[in-house]
Each structure stands twice: as structure tokens, then as C-alpha cells.
Symmetry: C2
Subunit: 362 residues, 2 copies
């Protein structure tokens, strides 16, 4: 596959599809779409290159938003702020990045590299660090390969910037999270400097093209009066867990995260059943009538029942008709090291992992 | 005055004198003394150069401890950690520092540059940024000259480090304070890169030699059975505010600071009177029988009644016999800009400044 040019016409599909992969997190796709649209109009199409074509000696860096999705909606970041973060990291590294990388799939963070690409004149790799969204920055597949998240940079909209160089990726998360809170609960970060060889080994390939495809499937199914949720579930090799109406949402902002639970009351085949969703920026656990039926690291996606549009955890509310699907994550997350980093127990739940098609794992 | 060599024999006097100028803050002189002693034994005498001999093109940087003095006592920093902070800043600046500078007078921070000097092979300027101690890093005379505290570095004992580059010195304080708290409430920082010309204009001259002199005056007065408190008060051009016994101390740790109040019941001439001391790391306000008799930015020093030794705010306790003196600060703190930065109202007290010899100022 060759380099692709991402024009404004592609952005709706990418934002919609990335929001599905974002499993409720990764920010409001409307914000990502607005930012990327402005960037592409100002700077021309962004170049998307397949992961397997990135040369060994490339200098790839992630650029992303860090913070509470609830805040990003009100404090919209800019292309200049994204570019400031990348330039601050480049200055510290003493090397010029050659490629930009998505931290995660999600309505904002899948698009942030496209936003920065125009400003910096750099291509974006068709890949990401997670193959989904996760709430903390050490939760990237490169951590499993011992690749450091730092040196990393952080920048706010006022002109403040910082660099962290830490002993491990958990410390990078901790220091950057505090700085993000000081900066008003949202900041732009650039991190995880990798050679092309490291990127090819450790990133999850195809994230942006998969996002575009998912967005297109939903759009086309809707136009043809077919079922968009079934189209998404089929493409991801997932299962539909539940259909129903949101009857309760409890949320609290704790340590810069949006945590909470939502209860969905069954409709149709599921009448009389209940699904409990537990989230922390992303949907992490699904409990159907008391049984844990899906868990992180597999993807739990909440979609509008008719339209198939992803519902982020911060926009979940009473009365929404939803369908909940589960889909397999990158298999590297199911290794013991992967589960230690992103399994249910890390998030404070007192049960093991449910792996799609494989049942419960201690 | 030429370059002086600071040997281990000089350190007791410097630590004792700097603790007096530290007005209750700046850390435990015992810790500063231990660190500097080890550094001088390992690396040889530290070179102290007068401020007016620093060449225009010097690259002077401050090196200091940041954090709660109560924590420094348990988590003693090392010369390597101080050197790591300076080297991280040097790497970011792309320039090699030629001189080290004290952030403040105080039992620890007056000595930290002497600790780093041996490790780095650099001279220390006989000066500091405050002419006393203050709790926040923007509270340095260079801020009044528009000199940026950043780029600054921060390093912990685990090997984590960071750089901040901020729009003003208040933002540097804010971001570095959060990182310090993450790092366990104490960290080593290097900041305020200055040319020699800037240093000569903006620093407070003579701090280390004055500290050594104060320490010597106390020691000699004690040996000769003269009054060490009177010797200190005379040398600083100050006044004795009170003599008595500490009868109450209330303290709380808030946002990384040790805040509180102490009540001293009068003895001798002061029998029947009471002095209330308000502190936030440093002693900031003295209220005698309801009248505010001294305030920040002038120095309020609490000394052991007989020995003349400085008592830091974290070691203040019931039953201590103390004498409280006030002494004039660097006159630049009494400008409107100075008082905005370090006056009583900045610290949340609802009254203006009392200037020694000049009475109350709105």
C-alpha cells in the first residue's frame, strides 16, 4: 500500500470510526473533526504512510492531547499548540522528527497528528500505540517492548512547556498528569520517540485506515437502510453484547479522569435484562445480569442503536437507545505483561479478564 | 575581595548563619551541613567568588532543594542529584554553566550550591536570589528585573528529571511545585540562568560571607559569655521584638507548605505580653499584644534565647525559650513590585507591610 493523502472529505469517516475504536474515550469526535478540518484547509492534505514502509532510521514521535475529555470540549486546542509540543521534544532530542504517530484511536487523538502534520510538514504513520483508547500514557504496546515514553514534552495554550525524562513510563504518566491538571486539565504532549524499526515492531498497524473504513461502513449502511451496528461488529470480528435504554449514569471526576457507571435496561430480545458499564474515560467492564461478559483490554463500544454512532463516556446520558458491542483488542494486550499494564485489576476491579471467545482468564 | 576557599572548617558557621537569615525556613542547617561536609571532604574546598568579580559573559545558574523542609529531614538529597539537576538544565540550554548561585539564605539552600560545586568543579557566587528565605521560587529579586526562572530543571533521587519553560515565574513555581509533590515532596532544581551582567545587577550580594560572619559572631559571643542574640541583631541592623517562652504551636501541611502559628508568652521585660508568629515555611508576621510589629519582607528571626541558634519553623515547639528579632531586608523588596510579589497580602494576610524604622505602609 502506498502513501495516501487525507483531504477534508476523509475526515468525517476517520473521526467517526476512530471514536468507535476509542471505546468511549479518546475525546469528542466533533472536536477532532473541527481541528483537523481547519488544519487540512490551511495546510493542505495530510500524508498517511503505511507502517511497514517506514524506514529503519526514521524518527517517529507521538503527538496527542492529554487531559479530561470533558475539558477538551470547552478548551479547544490548536495546531500551533500541537506543533509547539513536537518542536519542544525535537529541540530536547536534538533530532528532527520525520514521522508523526497517533497515541490511540479516539475522536480527538486519532486526529491530532493530522492536525500537527500540516503545521510541521510531516507524514503521519497509519498506526497507533494502543489499537483502541486507554486513559494513561504508559498503556501503549511500545511499553511492552521496553520503549520509553520519554523524553516527552508537554505544552499548554498559554505558551508554557515542559520536558520529562523518567525512569519508566508510569513515572511519565504521573508527572505529565500533574502538569496537565495545572495547565487546566488539558495539554498537548509529544512523546515516545522511536526509530522506524521500533515503530514497525511495536505500534498497532492500520489504525487510521481502519477508522476511515469503519466510518464509511456506518455511513453507507445508514444510507442504504442497512444496520450500521452489524456492519461495525462484523468488520471488527466482535459480538453484540446488549441492546437497550440508558436508565442511570453516575460519574465523578477523580484525579483528572472521568470515572463512573452506566446502567442499560434491555429492549427487544434483552427485555428484562440489565447491563452495567463501568468506565474510566473508556468503557472498561460490561456486567450483564451480574455476569462479567466483557472486560478491558478487549474493546467495549457503545453505539447509538439506530445510527451506529459512537457515544463517548462523557456524552452518555439517560434515555439514550444504545447497542453495546465487544471486539478483540491487539493480541499483545492479552499477554501476562499486557494484562499487568491494562487488565481489569490494574483499574481496580476485583476480577480477571474476560477474553472474547475464550471466556474468563484469572 | 578575592576568591575564597570554603573548607569543612567554615561550614558550621555558614550553616548556622544562613539559618538565621532563613527566617525559620530554608531547611534544617544540620542537613545542609552534613551534605556540604561530605561534598567538601570528597571533592575538596569549594571556591567562593565575590558577585562584583563575575564576568559579563558568565553563565550563572541557581541550584536548590524544592519541597517541604519536614520531608528533607527524612529524604536527604545527594550531591549527584544536585549535579543531575544542573546537568539537565545545561543540556537543555546547550551551554555549560560557569558559576553556581544560591536561591536563598537558609540552612539547606545556602549550602546546596557548595554541595554541587565539588561534583561539578564550578565556583559559587557569594550572593543569593532573596537575601533571606521565601517559600516560592518566583520570590527572587531577579523576577523584579524581568529575568525568567526558566528554563529550569527538576530531578529526584530515583533518576526522573524534567524541564519547564514557562511564560512567567509564577507558572514555573506552579508546575515545579506539582512535580515536587509527585517526586515525594522534595526535589533538586536548577533554574534562573543568568549572564554575569544580570547576576551582578539582580542578585543580593554577600549572602554566604554574611552567613559565615553571623555564624562566627554567635560562636564567639557564646565562647566569651557575651550575648549572641545582641551580636546578630547589631550586625543585621535590626531590633529585638520579644523574649519569652513558646506556649502554643499550630501547624498544618497545605499544598506542600508548612503553615501555622506560634504563640510566645513574654518573660523578663515582656512578662504579661504575648507575641503571635504567623509562618508559611518562613516567619512572615509578628503580632505583639494585638499590634502587627513586623512583617514580611523584613526578616523575622526566632533564636534560642541563650545560644542564639536559629529555630526553623518546623522545629518550633512548646517550652522553647526564644528571642525574636526583626531585621531589614534587601531594599528592593520594599518597592511596589517587590511587595506585590512578597508582601503580607500575597500570603493572604489582610494588612499592609510594616517596614522596620518606617512604621506601617498600606
Amino acid at each position: 500500500m502506498a502513501e495516501l493523502l487525507i483531504t477534508e472529505a476523509d475526515l468525517d469517516d476517520i473521526a467517526a470510526g476512530a471514536a468507535i475504536l476509542g471505546t468511549g474515550g479518546g475525546g469528542d469526535p466533533h472536536i477532532g473533526r473541527l481541528l483537523a478540518g481547519a488544519a487540512v484547509r490551511a495546510g493542505g492534505p495530510a500524508r498517511l504512510v503505511p507502517l511497514d514502509t517506514v524506514p529503519d532510521d526514521a524518527v517517529a514521535v507521538v503527538v496527542a492531547m492529554m487531559g479530561a475529555p470533558t475539558v477538551m470540549v470547552e478548551k479547544v486546542p490548536s495546531a500551533e499548540q500541537a506543533a509547539l509540543a513536537v518542536r519542544a521534544l525535537a529541540a530536547y532530542l536534538g533530532r528532527t522528527p520525520t514521522h508523526l504517530v497517533c497515541a490511540e484511536a479516539g475522536g480527538v487523538n486519532a486526529l491530532v497528528p493530522l492536525v500537527a502534520a500540516a503545521e510541521l510538514g510531516l507524514p503521519v504513520i497509519d498506526a497507533d500505540g494502543m489499537g483502541r483508547a486507554f486513559p494513561e500514557l504508559q498503556m501503549v504496546v511500545p511499553t511492552l517492548y521496553g520503549i520509553g515514553a520519554t523524553p516527552m514534552s508537554i505544552a499548554d495554550e498559554k505558551g508554557n512547556s515542559g520536558i520529562f525524562d523518567t525512569v519508566d513510563n508510569h513515572w511519565a504518566e504521573r508527572l505529565a498528569r500533574s502538569a496537565t491538571i495545572d495547565m487546566g486539565c488539558s495539554a498537548m504532549i509529544s512523546l515516545l520517540p522511536m526509530s522506524g524499526a521500533q515503530a514497525r515492531e511495536a505500534l498497532v498497524p492500520g489504525t487510521l485506515s481502519l477508522s476511515a473504513e469503519l466510518g464509511r461502513l456506518v455511513r453507507e449502511a445508514r444510507a442504504a437502510h442497512r444496520d450500521p451496528v452489524a456492519a461495525v461488529t462484523g468488520r471488527l470480528g466482535g459480538v453484540e453484547l446488549f441492546t437497550g435504554k440508558v436508565v442511570d449514569v453516575v460519574r465523578r471526576t477523580e484525579g483528572g479522569f472521568a470515572r463512573g457507571e452506566a446502567t442499560v435496561e434491555g429492549l427487544g430480545d434483552r427485555t428484562g435484562e440489565r447491563l452495567l458499564l463501568r468506565f474510566q474515560n473508556e468503557h472498561l467492564v460490561a456486567v450483564r445480569d451480574g455476569e462479567v461478559v466483557a472486560t478491558v483490554p478487549d474493546l467495549i463500544c457503545v453505539l447509538e442503536a439506530e445510527a451506529g454512532t459512537a457515544i463517548t463516556t462523557e456524552t452518555l446520558r439517560y434515555g439514550q437507545r444504545v447497542r453495546v458491542i465487544a471486539a478483540p483488542c491487539d493480541p499483545r494486550w492479552h499477554t501476562p505483561e499486557g494484562l499487568e499494564l491494562v487488565g481489569p485489576r490494574y483499574f481496580g476491579y476485583d476480577h480477571g479478564t474476560v477474553r472474547l471467545g475464550a471466556g474468563t482468564v484469572a
